[in-house]
Amino acid sequence: MDELYREQILEHYKRPHNFGPLEDYDLEFEDSNPFCGDEQHIRIKLDSDGRVAEVRFEGSGCAISTAATSLLSEELAGKTREELVRLDKAFVLDLLGIDISATRMKCALLGLKVVKGASLGKPADWEDEGEQGDPTELQRSGI
């Protein structure tokens, strides 16, 4: 079996979950990977408690970025905006369950970047490395 392109990764690449438009949403964000031009656009509907009710993403990307966002999208239901911003790199890498090389890290984390951007309503200070970033960012964003 292929170490990187495992069945689960290929499955999520070919048939990504929560993929497509979402008409009724509260949060959205679009970003791209400047090195390869891959783009992802995420839309999130919150419930009356401010927790994630529905997630949909669109865009074009490689197997790693598409599978990562597909897997991530399934883990977001019930989370608050603050919890979304606090998601870290390890969370996504665990979901992927494969070794990601330095050059593919930006692919793996593009989805996390747009999720954080959506919950903040602006690009996260947190950069591509998936760190938690500046803790005051939440307050400054009024979350």
């Binding site: 390869c36 031009g37 593919r104």
Partner: protein, 417 residues
């Protein structure tokens, strides 16, 4: 139909040429590397490595003004390098400015010439197939000056739409900036014709020679352009150096670009006068060892002959285009094999993203480039986010193209297509 000229052949075998490149002996994943990423940077022959090493060991010193043996040697080698580059371009040494690369050359023109000559409402013509290095400096100039950019579209085959170009010229642009060879499509643009048309319309022409300098015999008079920039590391030379060629009277009329040492005639508290070109545009200590390395690269290339290199790469491109048809679901971008296409083959495989293609090719020790190739306007025109690009050099072989095809078939297998 044009008569078929006998293609000049390489003066020594490709195997002998390969032996001059130490890095080609590198193995990746247990196999010798098939380096097909020459459009990004080419490898360096022993002649270049030795020339730079010798300079650093025996002649290193700062150039100009030093009255000691090493400085005189370094100055002579640096100015000899300029003469070598000028000779290669069929130009005069005083028309050659050393820059850090082609990006540096284009930014120099966009600032020094552009700020003095482009004003509100003026137009600059660029094309849909330009690399960002021949887009962004003009965008920045247009913003500063209140000027407009006109984009010449490409045809579905990946050639410039010459009718649209002619229409753009009727709007009276100040400058046309165009790639000699597209870094994505491999299209050779008809630069001599473009220059004639632009000059008839009163516009100057800047040619981005990043991909053409290593691939085509060059003669600035024949090219007919006003500015030509190229970069050393794509021409088997070092990084950190490139050159701008410009017609002498243009350079002489241009104000300085960067300020610093070496670019002045005289400095007082009240007044500064500028050095003559090319020194006017070379502020500060230049990349001296790199200039020496670039000259060695140019001499090495001229020893083989760019006509022979061009014939070799064009044959290899035709071979690659033919073999790639064996890969199901593969779509090649750019013109079909022919006189106006060389050295570069970009493609996509349905169902496998360019990054994943590149990752799987790396397992076969085949090095290609994946992404937007700094040509996002072109990607949009082609309707793709990214492509995979194989780009050839004089040392590449049909056997390496075979390994590319083998790797691509494996990529389809990995993706269960």
């Amino acid at each position: 139909m044009k008569p078929v000229a006998t293609a000049p052949s390489l003066p020594r075998s490709v195997d002998q040429i390969r032996a001059e490149f130490p890095i080609l002996a590198r193995e990746i994943a247990g196999r010798p590397i098939a380096y097909l990423d020459n459009g990004a940077t080419a490898q360096k022959p022993e002649a270049v490595l030795e020339a730079m090493d010798r300079f650093n060991r025996e002649h290193n010193s700062n150039v100009h003004r030093g009255v000691h043996t090493l400085s005189e040697e370094a100055t002579r080698l640096y100015e000899d390098a300029r003469r070598t580059v000028a000779g290669h371009l069929g130009a005069e040494a005083r028309e050659v400015v050393f820059t850090r690369n082609v990006t540096g050359a284009i930014n120099l023109v966009a600032s020094a010439w552009g700020d003095a000559n482009v004003g509100p409402g003026d137009r600059i013509v660029i094309t849909e197939m330009e690399h960002h290095s021949n887009v962004v400096p003009w965008y920045l100039l247009a913003q500063r000056a209140g000027a407009e950019l006109d984009w010449v579209p490409i045809t579905d085959e990946g050639r410039l739409d010459m009718a649209a170009f002619e229409a753009a010229l009727q709007r009276g642009p100040k400058l046309v900036a165009v790639a000699h060879i597209s870094n994505v499509l491999g299209t050779i643009n008809p630069v001599a014709e473009i220059s004639r048309m632009a000059h008839d319309a009163g516009a100057l022409v800047l040619v981005d020679g990043a991909q053409s300098a290593p691939k085509l015999p060059l003669d600035m008079a024949e090219l007919g352009a006003d500015f030509y920039g190229f970069t050393g590391h794509k021409l088997y030379g070092p990084t950190g150096i490139g050159a701008l060629w410009a017609r002498r009277e243009l350079l002489e009329a241009m104000p300085p670009y960067e300020g610093g040492g070496s670019m002045i005639h005289k400095v007082s508290k009240d007044e500064i006068s500028w050095a003559s070109p090319p020194a006017r545009f070379e502020a500060g200590t230049p990349p001296i060892a790199e200039a020496v390395g670039l000259a060695a690269a140019v001499e090495w290339v001229d020893g083989i002959g760019l006509d022979a290199i061009h014939a070799h790469e064009t044959d290899l491109t035709a071979y690659a285009l033919a073999r790639l048809t064996e890969v199901p679901g593969l779509r090649v971008f750019g013109p079909p094999a022919g006189d106006d296409r060389t050295g570069i083959v970009s493609f996509e495989i349905e169902g496998v993203h360019a990054h994943d293609v590149s990752e799987i090719l790396d397992r076969h020790a085949v090095a290609v480039r994946a992404g937007h190739h700094c040509a996002q306007v072109l990607m949009e025109r082609l309707g793709v986010a990214a492509t995979t690009r194989a780009s050839f050099a004089v040392y590449n072989t049909e056997a390496e193209v075979d390994r590319l095809v083998e790797g691509l078939l494996d990529a389809r297998k990995v993706f269960e297509l």
